[in-house]
């Protein structure tokens, strides 16, 4: 299955280095390493690998039984994206690493064909020839007309950046699993429909044949059967057999354990009230699923009226028929949903891996700053549900990590990959992952299984084959490890009871691998198949859902128990032994307790003492290989940084993690010199919701940059905004005013968790209430009598306002003599890009926020230390703190005071009530600034 070894991918860097050192004609001391791919484009970060495509894309391929591997579609659907990249060749590659156990047809000893509920397999594949690295997600769809009723497909995320694939593996896996689930759900629905149609056809055919036989019987009084009659009888018999087979298939597909998808949008027909419905399918075929999967049943009941056809006994030739397209295989709705999801994936993972990582880190850090982050952050950005595995990167950052739910979640895998050293002879890369805890699903699953009546077992044991990899572990199969037999790996299965035994026990089988396939993994959700669904079929590999696999080939599961849960280890071990017995005996049923999650296991993150991780760097020196060896899997090499910031995590697990580090360190000498080169020319944001926000940021940043260069009085204007004094931008031209408002909006602190207090355009006279609500207002200047009122209101409330006149280019506002704004808005800044400037602003605002945080939450600054202490001394202490400790000068004090007030209000405010917006102001004189 697997083609020629491809080890070049991992030696490429070395080769490059050789080239570089050979080539320069200059004496070495003057030599500057030339950019080796200058021909490809001016941007040295664009693509180092010399890949033939311009940016990441998603490829869907299938292994067609007629023509072999073929590409079906790419996302984005743009010929330019894939460029000269050979999709056909790559389809062949990715289809050739299908690790799904795709056994089909009649198993020996079984009367009827069995459907395989095949788990998705997840593979990372590198192809140095094409300069492409891919996350490959294999899945199987059912097709009645296909051989063995299955059609193998795969979705691949193709990128030129290997590190992106490796570091974002978890995220990719989660996102692709969603897409796959969606596709498969639709496919099951379509398949069931197809089966029902077929059954109707068969039923009709049988009736017709039966009638014919009867007619013949009557016509025939000779007492013996004609050949014709025998033929008819045979035909009838085969039709009847076919009916039984198809009924069985229908039962199987319906009994497919209904899994609740996390993404509810994939299931608009969610099972409510489904049971109440009269289900014709149920009447026809008694006792299929029962209560286990009402949703599926429900899905399958929408069958349009269908006129049965007569079926020829002979099936059409394999190559005559036209195979169904992917769209036909799934319900259209689900197909569209899948495409949407894939587009979402493409957008999410677009751009440099640095972007993705920093985005994830900053998001996680910001989440932690729940007290201050509302001030300058876009709350929609923070509220957005992070990509599936997000919290894992910085787990424990979550505030709730310590309370119940958080605890359970923090059990979820922390992922450590250690990249082995790649020499010319391929070594294995031990990649460790722990299985995801699917706590939401498991109880449901076990329940559904235990409630299953005994008689259903015969079809419930339809083979659910694990992909032949080890459950959740990402493994690297090296050439020298090829040829492992199944028995070997099975033997290695229960060797060592790992403390994580409760998590994933994986029957793993290595197949011959001579290629550069690095990573295998099964879909986490798929590995939670209850034992009842597992094969009693001898050759089937049991997927033990909750036990770890521990074998010698690069897979290491360091016992990372936190001391606090040590006593629970005994239980776990008991469980483990139970599991082993079950596994060894291959008993079809098992105790329900086995299926229950073991949430007691606490996993402490792997952390190293005092090693401060640095977010991705283009190259790591060899001596840092140790650090580099542990890029935590969801792409936060700096993911450990948060733990070190978080004192909670510094206790307890230190020794353990150290040992795990030691364990792994000998194999971590892999140097990734071109690690973070990116495959994408266009740096782009990581998250869906941020797309719009990012565009806004960019524009706002650019406008702000223009503003501070253009207006010498930008400082007092920004000071007004930061100190909570409403700034009115007055002008005749709406676009100009709006542009200014957009520019200045990045300096406006939020008053609450709601939208920014910015009003882009107002035409009516302002009122006091407006200043409570809005801190930045664009106001129309007109010459009409109404305009006079507008101006009158402005002058009346001038004490609450700063007024920026966009037409005459004047500013009327209080004096500013601080230093913070000067750093924030230096008109001589070298920053050119809007986004860069935006980030600069964010960083300074974050500094301000932290000062405000300190100021707000320092007890003695606001309350007397002793009972008798007068208010005045507290006030002077407060002032001293602001000026000396925080180093704030003059008006900067007011900024921090204002932010502190906002923090207080935010914290005090009860969640339910909105709270009265209050307006704070100062009686300070204003001055008129002119250009």
């Amino acid at each position: 299955m697997i083609s020629a070894p491809d080890v070049v991918a991992f030696t490429r860097e070395e080769e490059l280095e050789d080239d570089l050192y050979r080539e320069p004609p200059l004496p070495e001391e003057y030599s500057v390493p030339l950019f080796p791919f200058a021909g490809h484009g001016a941007n040295p970060w664009a693509k180092v690998a010399g890949s033939k495509f311009t940016r990441d894309f998603i490829l869907i391929s299938e292994f067609s039984e007629q023509v072999g591997p073929q590409p079906l579609l790419t996302i984005p659907d743009d010929a330019k994206v894939s460029g000269t990249f050979d999709l056909n060749y790559f389809s062949l590659r990715i289809m050739s690493v299908d690790y799904q156990a795709s056994f089909v047809g009649h198993p020996p000893g079984s009367a009827y064909p069995k459907l395989n509920f095949v788990e998705d397999s997840k593979v990372v594949l590198g192809d140095s020839k094409e300069g492409a690295f891919a996350y490959v997600h294999h899945l199987t769809l059912y097709d009645l007309e296909a051989r063995g009723f299955v059609r193998p497909f795969c979705m691949a995320y193709i990128s030129a950046d290997e590190h992106k694939i490796m570091q974002q593996f978890q995220e990719l896996s989660a996102e692709f699993s969603k897409a796959s689930e969606c596709l498969k759900t639709g496919n099951r629905k379509a398949f069931a429909n197809e089966l029902e149609k077929k059954l109707k056809d068969l039923d009709y055919t049988r009736t017709v044949l039966h009638n014919e036989t009867e007619v013949q019987k009557k016509a025939n009084d000779k007492g013996y059967y004609t050949t014709q009659a025998i033929e008819k009888a045979n035909e009838l018999a085969s039709v009847e057999k076919s009916i039984i087979e198809h009924q069985d298939l229908l039962r199987q597909i319906r009994s497919y354990p209904y899994r609740k998808l996390k993404e509810s949008e994939f299931h608009p027909y969610e099972p409510e009230g489904a049971l109440d419905r009269a289900d014709p399918g149920c009447d026809q075929h008694p006792a299929p699923s029962g209560p286990a999967e009402p949703g599926e049943m429900h899905l399958y009941t929408h069958i349009p009226s269908y006129t049965p056809k007569l079926i020829k006994a002979k099936s059409t030739k394999c190559f005559d028929k036209k195979l169904k397209t992917l769209e036909e295989l799934c319900d259209v709705y689900f197909f569209t949903q899948t495409l949407d999801q894939l587009h979402h994936i493409e957008r999410t993972f677009r751009g440099d891996v640095c972007y993705l990582l920093t985005e994830q880190i900053s998001r996680a850090l910001l989440k932690q700053q729940c007290v201050t982050n509302f001030l300058f952050e876009d709350m929609s950005f923070l509220d957005e549900k992070p990509p599936e595995k997000q919290y894992r990167g910085c787990q424990g950052l979550d505030q709730d990590a310590m309370d119940g739910k958080g605890l359970e979640e923090s059990l979820a895998p922390k992922v450590v990959i250690s990249l082995g050293s790649y020499k010319s002879s391929v070594e294995c890369v031990p990649i460790k992952m722990e299985q995801e805890m699917e706590d939401s699903e498991e109880p449901k699953m076990s329940e559904s299984v235990t409630s299953e009546p005994q008689e259903n077992l015969d079809y419930l044991d339809a083979d659910i084959k694990g992909s032949i990899s080890s459950g959740e572990s990402i493994e690297v199969l090296g050439t020298e490890k090829s040829g492992l037999t199944k028995s070997e790996s099975q033997a290695s299965l229960p060797v060592m009871p790992s403390p994580q035994a409760g998590r994933s026990k994986v029957g793993s089988r290595r197949t011959v691998s001579e290629d550069s396939i690095e990573v295998l993994s099964t879909c986490p959700s798929e590995s939670l198949i209850p034992e009842d669904f597992k094969a009693s079929y001898p050759s089937a590999i049991n997927e033990e859902p909750y036990a770890d696999n521990d074998d010698e080939r690069g897979l290491r599961f360091a016992p990372r128990l936190s001391p606090g849960v040590a006593d629970e280890q005994d239980d776990v071990l008991k469980q483990e032994s139970l599991v082993q017995v079950d596994a060894a005996c291959c008993i079809g049923k098992e105790s329900p307790s086995f299926l229950e999650p073991l949430p007691e296991l606490e996993q402490k993150p792997c952390e190293e003492d005092g090693v401060v991780r640095i977010p991705p760097q283009p190259s790591r020196p060899a001596e840092q290989g140790l650090c580099g060896g542990f890029p935590s899997h969801d792409g936060v090499p700096g993911g450990l940084l948060p733990y070190e910031l978080d004192p909670r995590h510094l206790s307890g697990s230190r020794e353990v993690s150290k040992s795990s580090l030691d364990e792994c360190s000998d194999s971590t000498s892999y140097i990734s010199s071109a690690a973070s080169t990116c495959s994408d020319r266009t740096p782009s944001p990581a998250h869906r919701a941020c797309q719009a926000g990012d565009r806004h940021r960019k524009r706002a940043g650019q406008n702000a940059l223009r503003f501070i260069r253009q207006y010498p009085f930008a400082h007092p204007a920004i000071y007004s905004l930061l100190s909570g004094r409403t700034l009115v931008v007055l002008g005749e031209d709406e676009t100009m005013v709006k542009k200014l408002v957009t520019a200045l909006s990045i300096f406006v602190p939020n008053c609450g968790v709601y939208a920014k207090p910015v009003k882009h355009w107002v035409t009516s006279p302002l009122h006091l209430v407006d200043f409570q609500k809005w801190k930045l207002i664009g106001l129309q200047r007109t010459v009409s009598p109404a305009g006079v009122n507008v101006l009158h209101a402005l002058s009346r409330y001038s004490r609450y306002l700063s007024i920026l006149d966009a037409d005459s280019k004047t500013l009327r506002c209080p004096l500013y003599r601080g230093t913070v704004v000067a750093r924030l808005a230096d008109h001589r800044t070298q920053i050119k890009r809007g986004t860069t400037y935006y980030m600069h602003v964010q960083s300074i605002l974050t500094q301000l926020c932290s000062k405000a945080f300190l100021f707000t939450f320092c007890h003695h600054l606001h309350l007397p230390i002793s009972e008798r202490e007068p208010q005045e001394s507290v006030a002077s202490r407060r002032m001293n703190f602001l000026k000396l400790q925080l180093g704030l000068a003059n008006e900067d004090v007011k900024i921090v005071q204002y932010l502190a007030e906002l923090l207080k209000l935010h914290y005090i405010q009860e969640p339910g009530q909105g709270g009265n917006p209050l307006l704070r102001f100062d009686y300070v004189p204003s001055f008129l600034y002119k250009i």
Binding site: K904, Y907, R920
Partner: protein, 441 residues
Amino acid sequence: SSVQTIGEEQIQNPYTELLVLKGHQDIVRFLVQIDDCRFASAGDDGIVFLWNAQTGEKLFELHGHTQKITAIAPFSSSDVSEEKIHLIITASADRTVIVWDCISGRQVQKVSCFHSTVKCLTVLQRLDVWLSGGSDLCVWNQKLDLLCKTSHLTDAGISALVELPKNCVAAAVGKELVIFRLSASNSGSEGWNVLEVKRLVDHQDNILSLVSVNDLTFVTGSHVGELIVWDALDWTKQAPECNFWDSSLHPDVQPEIKLSQSPNETSVQHLTSDEECVFAAVGKGIYVYNLQMKRVIACQRTAHDSSVLHIEKLPNRQLISCSEDGSVRIWELREKQQLPAETVPTGFFNMWGFGRANKQANQAAKKMQENTPMYFLELVGDLIGHSSAVQMFLYFGELGLATCSADHLIILWKDGERESSLRSLTLFQKLAQNGDLQLRL
């Protein structure tokens, strides 16, 4: 003289935070204090709102009147269980009077047997009765039983009532001041009789304001600017009538011109007093009349751009006035010898012409006449928030100041520093309560 103004720099103005209380749909005319931290507001929309003066929280919205409210009075009394109960009585143009319970926010009782609109309400705590004044004077007990009433007085009706010693009440009826006496009736224990004792006809024009200074004195002010100090016991003029348009007070204004003055400019809109002085809102100006010296000791003839509607003396020698021009001003009564020292330095940047010139208060002060009193009123701050006439305000001491206005709003003005430290206190209380102060390990 022009209106005194104060620049944007107001060091002595403590009100650096405000809360806008929205709820009313028409002019808000009345604010009454219920207890330490609650007040009620009422106005032309006929709705009564109860507010928390600290948080600005709306406690109750009392619906019952169909027309605008004409009078409101708080009525606290002790019931059988010695618990203090807070009631408010409201009278409306729909000729009803409703008693509300401030604790439950419910209507206790409603009286609708009036022939005319009740224009004033007064509570005689001592006797545990309250009086309503319209075209006649009615006396009610706490349970809203009509105890007695006078005969029909005039169509214009009673515009103001004030309690006097010896169970007497002074009622302003047009130009006349009528003294009534309540006496226990012979027949019933609960019965009261009300008798007209005296009619005083010294005012030239309608009496607009009526205030009791102490047990011995009360003061009336009329539409044409007459102020008369009365003896509360024998209802004689304690001091010669003081006319704010006296030529001795305003030598620059000729008597002829006085006649051409719009009466609005001289009407005594509101009176308030402390033990020493009577403070009168006269037209656009404020006058301070010393009872001992029997003369006006300080005045600010154009304190506002428009009529002063309400005036209040604060404990700290400060005076707050509100006006139809939508502003509230804070004044301080200062002795004259401080004047040279009090010259406020002109802002440094004013010389460069930045911003609006700060017209300092001393400009007006310099124009003091030689016979001006030995005190003067210094403007120490103004509150600009309402977009229409400020009808009334309520001073809550530390909690701040509530103002109500024709723009349907009530604004709570607060001391920003105090609020800030209060919030800090709350913050740390909440932190302790949530257990966030402990270091989580």
